[in-house]
C-alpha cells in the first residue's frame, strides 16, 4: 500500500493493558480518540474510567523514531447510577470521548455514558507555593503568637502532576441511550444524540439544551428506525449528519429551521434484492458515520462494509469496501451469538486517502482509496516485538486453505476490534482489542 514516499509498512509500537487472558469487564475498552494534534490519546472503558496517554516527542528528529505513548492521566469519569423512577441502572461505560481544540494550557474533553455528558479539564501542575505566613508547609496552622515576620510565598518547582477535574455536567437531557457526541467547529456548541433525539448544547450552559432532531413517533408501535450516530461537519458549523438503523444518512442544516426533522439531504443506497435475508435490516444498520477531514466526504460503517459518500451525491456511495464479506453466509450463527449486533467504528487517516475499520479475530482492515488496495492486519501479542513489521493476514473463504491463511470457521468472534483511531497527521494508529490498546506506526515515519 503506497503512501507518500513508498509503501506503508505497519510495525508494532506499543501495547497497553493487562496481559491476562481473563478479561475484567470493567477493563473492556469502549472508545479511543486522538486529540487534534495527536499528542494525546484517550481511551474510555466499561468501568467508567478515562486513561489519557501522551506522546513523548523529544526524539522526533532522530531516525528510527518511535513515538512512545505513556500514561498521562487516569480518572474516573462516570460512576454507575440508578434511575429510581424507571428502576433502571445506568451503566458507567464511556460511550464516546471527544476532544475540544486546545485554547489555552489546559486540555478539555467531553466524555459520555448512556445518559450524562461531562466536560473534563486536564491541566498540568508543576509548581507549588511554599512559605505561607499562617500555615506550615504540611498544612497545619501556625500559632499566631509565633509569627514574627511577614514573607511572600514563592512558587517552587515540583514533580509534574496532571489533574483532571469535571468542569461541566450535562445531565437529564436524554431519555434514550446516548450514542454520539460531536463538537461543533464553532468551538462553542456540541451535539449529543440518543436513539431518537439529538440535542444541541452550549459548552458553557448545562441546565438546558435545544432539541434539534426528534424522530420519536407519536405511537411507539410505529417505530421503524432509530438514530445510530451523529456528527457535525468539520468546517460548516450549521451542518450535521445522522445515520439510522435503516442504513440511511440524513444531512441537516440548522439554518433551515429550529427543528431539523426535515433533512436537507438523504443518503440512501437501494438494497440489492439478491442479498435479502432474515437479517438484512440488522446488517444494513449503520454503526458509525465520520466526515472526512476535508469535509467533502463522509464514511459509514455497516456490519459487512464501509461506504464512502460524496456529500453532493445522495443516491449511492462513491466507494464501497467489503470488510468481511465471508460472514454473509454466517449471519444466522452471528445472530445467535450476538455478534451481528456488534457496532464497529471506522476512521480516516489525516489526508483522507486511507480508511480503517475493525473486524473479528483481532483483525483490522485498511482500504487505500487512491490505489484501490486493501490490507488485513492483526493486533496480537504474538506480533508484539518492538518495531516488528506486521504481516498481512488473509481469510480463506473456501476451497483449499493456503499456508498462513485462516479459515472462516477458525476465526475467534470473541476477539473483535470495534474501536480504532488514526493520528490526525502521522501514520500512527491506535487499535483497541477487548482490553488492550495497540499502537502501530508506519516504518518510514
Amino acid at each position: 500500500m503506497a503512501g507518500p514516499g513508498g509503501d506503508m509498512q505497519w510495525c508494532f509500537s506499543q501495547v497497553k493493558g493487562a496481559i491476562d487472558d481473563d478479561v475484567a469487564e470493567a477493563d473492556i475498552i469502549s472508545t479511543v480518540e486522538f486529540n487534534h494534534t495527536g499528542e494525546l490519546l484517550a481511551t474510555g472503558d466499561k468501568g467508567g474510567r478515562v486513561v489519557i496517554f501522551q506522546q513523548e516527542i523529544e526524539n522526533k528528529n532522530q531516525p528510527q523514531f518511535r513515538s512512545e505513548y505513556n500514561v498521562y492521566s487516569t480518572f474516573q469519569s462516570h460512576e454507575p447510577e440508578f434511575d429510581y423512577l424507571k428502576s433502571l441502572e445506568i451503566e458507567e461505560k464511556i460511550n464516546k470521548i471527544r476532544w475540544l481544540p486546545q485554547k489555552n494550557a489546559a486540555q478539555f474533553l467531553l466524555s459520555t455514558n448512556d445518559k450524562t455528558i461531562k466536560l473534563w479539564k486536564i491541566s498540568e501542575r508543576d509548581k507549588r507555593p511554599e512559605g505561607y505566613n499562617l500555615k506550615e508547609d504540611d498544612g497545619r496552622y501556625k500559632d499566631p503568637n509565633s509569627i514574627t515576620s511577614l514573607q511572600v510565598p514563592v512558587l517552587i518547582p515540583m514533580d509534574l502532576m496532571v489533574e483532571a477535574s469535571p468542569r461541566r455536567v450535562f445531565a437529564n437531557a436524554h431519555t434514550y441511550h446516548i450514542n454520539s457526541v460531536s463538537v461543533n467547529s464553532d468551538n462553542e456548541t456540541y451535539l449529543s444524540a440518543d436513539d431518537l433525539r439529538i440535542n444541541l448544547w452550549h459548552l458553557e450552559i448545562t441546565d438546558r439544551s435545544f432539541n434539534i432532531v426528534d424522530i420519536k413517533p407519536a405511537n411507539m408501535e410505529e417505530l421503524t428506525e432509530v438514530i445510530t450516530a451523529a456528527e457535525f461537519h468539520p468546517h460548516q458549523c450549521n451542518t450535521f449528519v445522522y445515520s439510522s438503523s435503516k442504513g440511511t444518512i440524513r444531512l441537516c442544516d440548522m439554518r433551515a429551521s429550529a427543528l431539523c426533522d426535515k433533512h436537507s439531504k438523504l443518503f440512501e443506497e437501494p438494497e440489492n434484492p439478491s442479498n435479502r435475508s432474515f437479517f438484512s435490516e440488522i446488517i444494513s444498520s449503520i454503526s458509525d458515520v465520520k466526515f472526512s477531514h476535508n469535509g467533502r466526504y463522509m464514511m459509514t460503517r455497516d456490519y459487512l462494509s464501509v461506504k464512502i459518500w460524496d456529500l453532493n451525491m445522495e443516491n449511492r456511495p462513491v466507494e464501497t469496501y467489503q470488510v468481511h464479506e465471508y460472514l454473509r453466509s454466517k449471519l444466522c450463527s452471528l445472530y445467535e451469538n450476538d455478534c451481528i449486533f456488534d457496532k464497529f467504528e471506522c476512521c480516516w487517516n489525516g489526508n483522507d486517502s486511507v480508511v480503517m475499520t475493525g473486524s473479528y479475530n483481532n483483525f483490522f482492515r485498511m482500504f487505500d482509496r487512491g490505489h484501490r488496495r486493501d490490507i488485513t492486519l492483526e493486533a496480537s501479542r504474538e506480533n508484539s516485538k518492538p518495531m516488528q513489521v506486521l504481516k498481512p493476514r488473509k481469510v480463506c473463504t473456501g476451497g483449499k486453505r493456503k499456508k498462513d491463511e485462516i479459515s472462516v470457521d477458525s476465526l475467534d468472534f470473541n476477539k473483535k476490534i470495534l474501536h480504532t483511531a488514526w493520528h490526525p497527521q502521522d501514520n500512527i494508529i491506535a487499535v483497541a482489542t477487548t482490553n488492550n490498546l495497540y499502537i502501530f506506526q508506519d516504518k518510514v515515519n
Binding site: K86, L88, E89, I90, E91, K93, D114, Y176, H177, N179, D195, L196, A218, N219, M220, E221, E222, L223, T224, E225, V226, T228, S245, K246, E271, P273, S274, R276, S277, F278, F279, S280, E281, I282, S285, C332, Y335, E336, D338, F341
Partner: protein, 183 residues
C-alpha cells in the same frame, strides 16, 4: 417450490423466532435497561421470520386459510414484502403463488375480525354501566396497547395473528408490537 424446502424454511424461521424471543427476554435483565436499537432490530428479525414462517406454512398447506399478517402501522412492511419475492431461500414461483392466493382469504378473515373488533369499539353509550374497566383494563402506568388515532383516521382490522388462538401463532404475536411500547 418443494415441500422439503418449505419445511426447512419453516423450521429455520421457527428457530430464529425462538432465538429472538429468548434474546428479547434476556435483554430485559441487562444492565443499563432495554436497548431500543437492539429491541427494534430483534423485532424486525422476528417479523421477517414470522412472515416467512406464515408464507412457507401457506405453501405447505394451502387449504389452511392463513394470511400474511397485515401491519397497517408498519410503514416498512410493504416494500419488504415486495422485495422478498426473489428471496433465494424461497423458490420464487412458489412464494408468489402463495402470496397471491392469500389475498382473497385474508380479506374474508379480516372482515370477520373487523366485526369482532367493532364489538369492542362500541360507543360508550352501549357499554354496561358496570365499571369493568377497573378490573380488566391494564393499569394506567402501562403504555396503552391501542394505537392512538390521528383525527380522520379509521381503526384498521387487527393483525390476524391476534384474532387467532393458534398455538403456533401465539409465539409470533407475543411481543412484536409490544416490545417498543415498553419504552
Amino acid at each position: 417450490m418443494s415441500a422439503t424446502t418449505a419445511m426447512e424454511v419453516n423450521i429455520e424461521a421457527k428457530r430464529i423466532l425462538a432465538v429472538s424471543i429468548s434474546k428479547l427476554y434476556a435483554s430485559r435483565t441487562q444492565r443499563g435497561g432495554l436497548r431500543l436499537h437492539r429491541s427494534l432490530l430483534l423485532s424486525l428479525v422476528m417479523r421477517s421470520a414470522r412472515d416467512i414462517y406464515h408464507a412457507s406454512r401457506e405453501c405447505e398447506a394451502p387449504s389452511e386459510a392463513q394470511s400474511a399478517p397485515e401491519e397497517p402501522m408498519d410503514t416498512g412492511s410493504s416494500p419488504e414484502e415486495a422485495s422478498r419475492q426473489p428471496e433465494p431461500q424461497l423458490a420464487t414461483s412458489g412464494a408468489e403463488t402463495c402470496s397471491d392466493s392469500e389475498e382473497p382469504a385474508s380479506d374474508a378473515e379480516e372482515y370477520d375480525c373487523e366485526i369482532a373488533e367493532d364489538k369492542e369499539n362500541l360507543s360508550p353509550a352501549r357499554q354496561s354501566r358496570k365499571r369493568r374497566g377497573k378490573a380488566s383494563a391494564a393499569p394506567d402506568f402501562l403504555p396503552s396497547k391501542r394505537a392512538r388515532l390521528e383525527p380522520g383516521e379509521e381503526r384498521h382490522a387487527a393483525p390476524l395473528g391476534s384474532c387467532r388462538a393458534g398455538a403456533g401463532d401465539s409465539l409470533t404475536t407475543l411481543s412484536l408490537n409490544r416490545v417498543i411500547p415498553a419504552f
